[in-house]
């Protein structure tokens, strides 16, 4: 039994795939650490503020929980090991889930007060920004976020990188975490979770997303149009489905990255465009929902803190 336990999914060269469940303990530990820390932070904050943030906190917790659930599903058996060692197409699917599911959900599920605490932002605006905030600002500048994301996209698709890293648990873990971090950074200018961080206006966001939809075409084309399998890992992996050879699997990975990723990005662009166009109409009355109002209170740190009663 012990031999079937792994810490993190990693590539297997020459070992046949079977549909027997294998526990990936590292995935459970990561989810427990993230979820536990999050729950503990919410609890501490509720105690410190007398529950002032509770209604909007539920909203955040729901998103963060959904992000963790997606992270678990995409890293655990069977998607994790299949993508790490057998099928490039499943590897590409995991990348898409990380980028367009896990990353935005974790980011939008982190309440602004928690993000402020993580970035060591002083409640007093007169205090100069600390090192952590300065680094976060520099990293999430739109052009930096854009470049790092695309650079990582290209680097993590290089055969030499995939074949060297995915065959070990540490390498596979490093790749996954690097990809998740890059995706979260990529989303910051679009979502602007805090006014202290860089953000983009609507037209610039459209441009940013357009760029994100174009650049992945380069690695996706290599995957789709290569005559031979690019990755030794996936080429020499025993077939999971006898009808799916390594080249077809690779083509599916390339097309999935390009088509599914592109459709998601263009879908977001469409929503943003119409929202922007709608907001530009001069006679349009802007309506704000209560939950939006609550989120803005948190975002701009405008809530009145409950002060404990004076000692009698």
């Amino acid at each position: 039994m012990l031999q079937t336990i792994s810490w993190w999914c990693s590539g297997t060269i020459g070992r046949a795939w079977d549909w027997t469940y294998r526990p990936l303990v590292g995935v459970y530990v990561l989810i427990a650490v993230l979820g536990g820390t999050y729950a503990w932070s919410l609890r501490r904050h509720a105690a410190a503020t007398g529950g002032a943030h509770v209604p909007s906190t539920h909203h955040y917790a729901l998103r963060f929980g959904a992000g963790l659930a997606l992270l678990a599903v995409s890293s655990d058996w069977p998607l994790g090991p299949l993508g790490a060692g057998y099928l490039a197409s499943v590897g590409a699917l995991r990348m898409l889930i990380f980028t367009f599911g896990v990353a935005p959900l974790l980011l939008s599920g982190t309440p602004p007060w928690l993000l402020r605490r993580l970035l060591r932002i002083d409640p007093d605006p007169a205090v100069a920004p600390g090192r952590v905030l300065r680094a976060a600002r520099a990293t999430t500048l739109p052009w930096v976020a854009f470049l790092q994301f695309n650079l990582l996209l290209v680097v993590t698709q290089l055969p030499v990188v995939v074949d060297a890293l995915k065959v070990t648990q540490a390498g596979s873990f490093t790749l996954d975490m690097a990809w998740l971090t890059a995706s979260i950074i990529m989303w910051v200018p679009l979502m602007r979770p805090l006014p202290e961080l860089p953000g983009l206006g609507d037209p610039a966001r459209l441009l940013y997303l357009f760029g994100l939809s174009v650049l992945p075409t380069v690695p996706a084309s290599f995957l789709t149009f290569s005559r031979f399998p690019l990755y030794e890992l996936y080429e020499l992996a025993p077939r999971v489905f006898s009808s799916l050879d390594a080249v077809v699997d690779q083509q599916m990975a390339g097309l999935g990255l390009k088509i599914i990723g592109g459709l998601i990005i263009w879908g977001i662009m469409t929503v943003l465009f119409f929202r922007w166009a709608n907001g530009e109409q001069p006679d349009k009355v802007q309506t704000v929902t209560w939950s939006q109002f609550e989120r803005d209170l948190d975002r701009y740190d405008l809530r009145q803190r409950k002060t404990p009663p004076p000692p009698s």
Partner: protein
């Protein structure tokens, strides 16, 4: 002296969790050990030169149609790739066969210019019919051969390869079992002499590069 900064209990837990996670991700996982060491390739080839170029031993095989097959005679005609495997093989046999089939499919040589032979190491389960059906999944030109187990073992050992090992349950129970067998593809020249061994891990692009040289007989 400024007060020493200490981590809160929560942060200590997070740091400890991350350290545990990273420490547990050992690079010496069982999966990593499966990667074969880099073989010493023959200059200009993607395979390893066979020392002494042993001649193909004589043996009485039966093909997938159930007819006697003289492999030695067939090998005198054109270069012959011989692989010893079995159809229930869960890992390397189908990958080897699929890679050779894809290389042939790419058009670098015509299937008629080369023999690709799959000799079973598990004749009990691999009947001629089973062999034929299995190889048709890869390429209809592939030749499947079987013989009594002792005959196959002798043929393999005479070529200087390790004898196949049937890993059947010791209690005599029937059912699935694996067979230990050589992992390389042996290439014989048109005089039926073993020239090059392509180890497990030979890639499609490497086959495409080497197949025309095998057909031309550009031996080192």
């Amino acid at each position: 002296m400024p007060p020493r900064r200490t981590l809160s209990a929560g942060r200590r837990c997070v740091v400890a969790g991350l350290i545990l996670l990273l420490a547990a991700c050992s690079p010496t996982s069982t999966t990593a050990s499966l990667q074969a060491a880099e073989p010493e390739y023959a200059p200009g080839w993607n395979g390893v030169a066979v020392e002494g170029t042993p001649e193909m031993p004589a043996a009485e095989f039966t093909d997938a149609e159930g007819r006697p097959f003289d492999l030695r005679a067939a090998a005198m005609d054109k270069p012959t790739l011989v692989y010893f495997g079995y159809t229930h093989c869960p890992d390397i046999c189908p990958v080897h066969m699929a890679n050779i089939a894809s290389a042939l499919d790419s058009g670098s040589v015509r299937p008629s210019q080369i023999n690709v032979v799959f000799v079973t190491t598990d004749p009990d389960r691999d009947t001629p019919q089973v062999l034929g059906d299995y190889l048709d999944n890869f390429d209809a030109s592939f030749i499947g051969l079987t013989a009594p187990q002792e005959e196959i073992n002798r043929f393999v050992v005479d070529l200087g390869l390790p004898e196949p090992v049937l890993e059947k349950p010791s209690d005599g129970a029937t059912g699935d079992y694996t067979v230990g067998h050589p992992g390389q593809v042996l290439v014989f020249d048109a005089q039926a002499r073993a020239r090059i061994a392509y180890p497990w891990g030979t890639r499609q692009s490497q086959w495409v590069e080497d197949l025309p040289k095998l057909v031309r007989g550009d031996w080192a």
